[in-house]
């Protein structure tokens, strides 16, 4: 017990007040305070300050959490926000339809018509997206599939894009000018998002597949998208990709063979600056 104890520092006085000291050091501080009334008064004041502060704030801690801060709701809202890129895609597809970028002109007039109708459809979807669509996260793919099938008016099997590195992130049933459609959202580990719209094929719909990609026009690499033919369920896949803002890479998608003869895939890529700078590229025709 003869060892000289190290002097009490101000930090230790705080630690004493805040209960961060071990029992031995705590006793040392208490002995020190017994001998130093001025320090003891200061510490007592600090303790009162802490009590008053806690007392002043306690009601807010005990208050019921308002609905606006309901964590489940906020989580759902966040999923809804992830559809943001879709709106961008819609805008660019419309720009393409109106402006008919140079690439599209080369594709022939019939396909320009195809793009235009795609644009209209996207506009219709965009217009109704605020109207409480059935919206799901892709926690259980089977459940998502079931709900989409129920709401979308027919069997829906979200395409597996895992080979391209995309994972199904969510989906919702949306209204379009041609009736209900399923909008599916995919993403990859880099955060690149891909939105896909599926709806039942229309009788007058001659172009089986339409693609519109909005990616990074500066990448210098044209995307390769190829999908031929509607599936046996008579669904017409339409792809619209909203590229990531930095456009690191262009996803490569290849699906299906030539199912129904004569259906030519259509692709449109819009650069960052808008539809007018887009390049068109086509997948292999069957």
């Amino acid at each position: 017990m003869t060892a000289v104890e190290r002097p009490i520092g101000e930090d230790e006085l705080h630690a004493y007040v805040d209960g961060f000291l071990g029992p031995a050091r705590r006793q040392t501080v208490e002995r020190y305070l017994d001998d130093h009334p001025e320090a003891a008064a200061r510490i007592a004041g600090w303790q009162v300050v802490g009590e008053r502060l806690r007392e002043a704030a306690a009601w807010k801690f005990q208050e019921p959490v308002p609905a606006a801060l309901n964590i489940t709701r906020l989580a759902e809202a966040r999923i809804a926000n992830r559809w943001g890129p879709w709106r961008m895609a819609a805008g660019i597809v419309i720009a393409l339809a109106v402006g008919a970028g140079s690439g599209w002109l080369a594709r022939g007039s019939g396909e320009i018509g195809g793009a235009a109708s795609g644009g209209k459809q996207v506009a219709a979807v965009n217009g109704v997206s605020g109207a409480h669509p059935v919206q799901l996260a892709a926690g259980q793919p089977a459940q998502l599939e079931g709900r989409l099938t129920q709401g979308g008016g027919g069997a829906v099997t979200p395409p597996d894009l895992s080979k391209s590195g995309y994972r199904l992130a969510g989906g919702q049933v949306v209204a379009t000018a041609q009736g209900p459609a399923c909008m599916l959202l995919y993403d990859d580990p880099q955060g690149t998002r891909l939105t896909l719209l599926m709806r039942p094929a229309q009788k007058h719909d001659t172009s089986a597949t339409q693609f519109a990609e909005t990616g990074d026009g500066n990448g210098g690499r044209a995307p390769q998208l190829a999908e031929a033919g509607a599936d046996s369920g008579g669904r017409t896949p339409q792809l619209a990709e909203a590229g990531s803002a930095n456009g690191r890479r262009v996803p490569q998608l290849a699906e299906g063979g030539g199912g129904s003869g004569g259906s030519a895939p259509q692709l449109a890529e819009a650069g960052n600056g808008g539809g007018a700078t887009g390049q068109a590229a086509a997948g292999p025709c069957p």
């Binding site: 930090d11 961060f20 600090w46 009162v48 802490g50 502060l53 007392e55 002043a56 809202a77």
Partner: protein, 165 residues
Amino acid sequence: MSVLSKLEENIPSLRRYAWTLLRNSSDADDLVQDCLLKALDRIDTLRTASDLRSWLFTIMHNLYVNRWRRMKLRARVTADEGELAVGPSQQASVEIQDVLRGLGSLSEEQRQIVLLVAVEGFQYGEVAAMLGIPVGTVMSRLSRARDRLREFVEGQERPLLRRVK
């Protein structure tokens, strides 16, 4: 326990801290909402759940500092005018009014630190990491904050004296 319910557990203390910083319930809840949305966006970056509380407070601190400066000024004006918001059912005692007025008189940094330590119970090292400052700075600001607030709770800083200034 799911991540969402772990987040949910921390909402009351986030609201308390936001309110003591801003002393305005609606601004405080806006701040908490922003914080929760950001947390949901970044939940993948959270490695261990034991970090969750200080991780959330760090997010809120950054939001507060970066995006809420105007609101902060508004809150300070409110405090100076003596319109101290208190609990709806609570006729604030003179003692509580004193300490809240003292809080309003502190610098932003002092206020954050004394609240994080004395009300939220964070360790000094956690506060330093949260605010991105050395522990020594935390300790010296804590001393100044506590000494200043002591003047208010001990009645050395009454409203009349402040008006004379």
